[in-house]
Amino acid sequence: MPRIVFDKVEKSFGSVNVLPPLDLTFETGEFTVLVGPSGCGKSTTLRILAGLETVSGGEIYFDDRPISKLEPKQRDIAMVFQDYALYPHMNIAQNMSFALRLGKRPKSEITAKVNEVAETLNIRHLLDRKPAELSGGQRQRVAMGRALTRDASTFLFDEPLSNLDAKLRAKMRTELAEMREALDKNMVYVTHDQVEAMTLGERIVVMKDGVVQQQGSPEELFKRPVNMFVAGFLGSPTTNFIAGHLTEADGALRVQGTGFDLPLAPELAARVRDRSDGLRDVVVGIRPSSIGLEPTGAQLELTTKVSEYLGSQSVLVTHCGDQEILVELESSDRIQTGSTLSYGVNLSELMLFDPKTEQRI
């Protein structure tokens, strides 16, 4: 199981630069989730790692071995594709054993391995069917099985769950999480779904336009996003961003804007004071879950426009001045549409961003 290092890897398709020099490290045995919006270069990164695309510059190392010129078969990698990419003319057993058969392994070993993997994935009864005879969820399992049958050192997943319905996706997510514990392998998992990223990732790498925005544990990324993009991308419902400006009264920093005037938590105030650029205009980031009905000494007057019932939680679409603000509440707190109430803000979770650089303060 190698440690994988991307050293200034670049990729262009013609004149389109998809990856500006990219530096990225995947530690031995780590489960890394690469997450970002569609078209940000996640698949390209994965395909470069698999050897399906060449690099336009830079080098990839497996431990200290440069591999960017190697064929896929020389990289000891297994991959699960978004559309599963099963061989339509082979039955499931043949699909799963293709790599082993090419490797000229003994028949008994191949049969044993296929049966073993089929057993763990509950697809034993499908072994002599063709891919066209399976449902989407079953195909997905087979694709997973085909990758598992090879004892590759590194597993790559390119949005493997995106073609499944919501219920099946949740189920497979749990199974994947179990598999992650059971297998001691390098795994790189690509998704555009932040929920998948948060539930699965040991380490999450957030990408945008081919540039790594931030990497770290799910909690780290959620609690301490480095910029507005990460703060807005992770977490659902999405973070509220409101324009505001800093004021100082009685030696205490406050942030004001249309319809609100909030004090800053001490640590945040200290960080603001540490800046020497005399920043006044800021963007305030408040997660919908940081707003509640309990008074906290930092109140917001909000008018409820729409209430979306989600079961145990409800999401309120409210207005504060002319800005829309999402609020997440327990469903037991019934809020009348059109009513204006005073809500408490959890100040320790309040974020401030520099509107020019979009970096968090």
């Binding site: 050897g51 399906l52 896929p72 991959m79 559309d83 990419a85 099963l86 061989y87 003319h89 085909r146």
Partner: protein
């Protein structure tokens, strides 16, 4: 109730004129040919004056050495050209199925031969095969080799017509194979690369099996077509030298016009027709089996 019934018959009513014309235009000549094949009929007679001989024409053909020779030539011509064209066409498609600069131009060039009228193809090749001024023999001569009797020696003449046919029809197989290749699921090919397959193994284990349905239909179409080939050979060799390139359609036309045996010619045509019908039926059966299989698979996958 009555409107419903009327509605049910309306389509047939509208179809009737077309069906009638089709029946007259298609069935009448075939019926005429079948009827004529039971006659001893000379072109100077009207069909009513011809003598009814029953199956004599059909039976006699089997002891007619020239007919058997021509049947043999047709079968070997068909077998040889279809095999060569399939190998070349599929091979070329496999080679050229990639994004290269100028590929679009190259593809257009490749399909040009198919678009030229067969008579013209025949004339073109006849000039090129010309014993003294043809390009082949002139080239051979300038390189210091002996000229080749392209059209005047039995075996060479057979090879020459095969070459001309291969030149004209390989593009047909090339185009269909290329279409099959390009509609192939790209990710399955990538999965095979990751599974460790070499280029050859991908071709052998993934591409060719996936192309097979298209290849089988293509081969059958070519088979049917090459049984009926006439113009190119007519222009190139007119069946000669001797009977070495006299394929069935030539034999039929000569029987009718030179030997003035309309009944025998009709019987031969019917043998050819039966042969073609068998092949066509094989093709239909194949596609039907294929359809049934995909339908079954779809049903199974919907059930699951």
């Amino acid at each position: 109730m009555t409107t419903a019934r009327a509605n049910r018959f309306t389509p047939y009513l509208f179809l009737a004129p077309a069906a009638l014309i089709l029946a007259v235009a298609l069935m009448y000549p075939i019926g005429y040919m079948v009827y004529a094949s039971f006659l001893d009929w000379n072109p100077s007679q009207t069909i009513g004056e011809a003598e009814w001989v029953g199956l004599r024409n059909y039976v006699n053909l089997w002891s007619d050495a020239a007919f058997l020779e021509s049947l043999g030539v047709t079968l070997s011509f068909t077998a040889v050209v279809v095999v060569i064209e399939m190998i070349l066409g599929v091979g070329l498609a496999l080679l050229l199925d990639r994004e290269l600069r100028g590929m679009a131009v190259l593809r257009t060039l490749f399909i040009l031969p198919m678009m030229i009228a067969p008579i013209v193809v025949g004339l073109m090749w006849r000039y090129m095969y010309h014993p003294t001024v043809g390009i082949f023999n002139r080239t051979l001569k300038s390189l210091g080799f002996e000229p080749i009797p392209w059209l005047s020696d039995g075996s060479w003449a057979f090879a020459s017509v095969v070459i001309a046919d291969v030149w004209q029809w390989t593009p047909f197989i090339f185009i269909l194979s290329l279409a099959a290749l390009q509609s192939m699921p790209r990710s399955a090919l990538e999965a095979a690369r990751i599974d460790g397959a070499t280029g050859w193994q991908i071709t052998l284990f993934i591409k060719l099996p996936l192309m097979m349905p298209v290849l089988i239909v293509t081969a059958l179409l070519r088979l049917i077509d090459s049984f009926k080939v006439l113009e190119v050979i007519l222009v190139l060799t007119n069946g000669g030298p001797g009977l070495s390139t006299e394929i069935m359609s030539l034999r039929i036309s000569r029987t009718a016009s030179e030997f003035r045996e309309l009944g025998v010619a009709a019987a031969m045509s019917n043998y050819l027709l039966i042969l073609l019908m068998l092949i066509t039926m094989a093709m239909f059966t194949y596609t039907k089996i294929q359809e049934r299989r995909t339908a079954a698979q779809r049903a199974a996958s919907e059930e699951a």
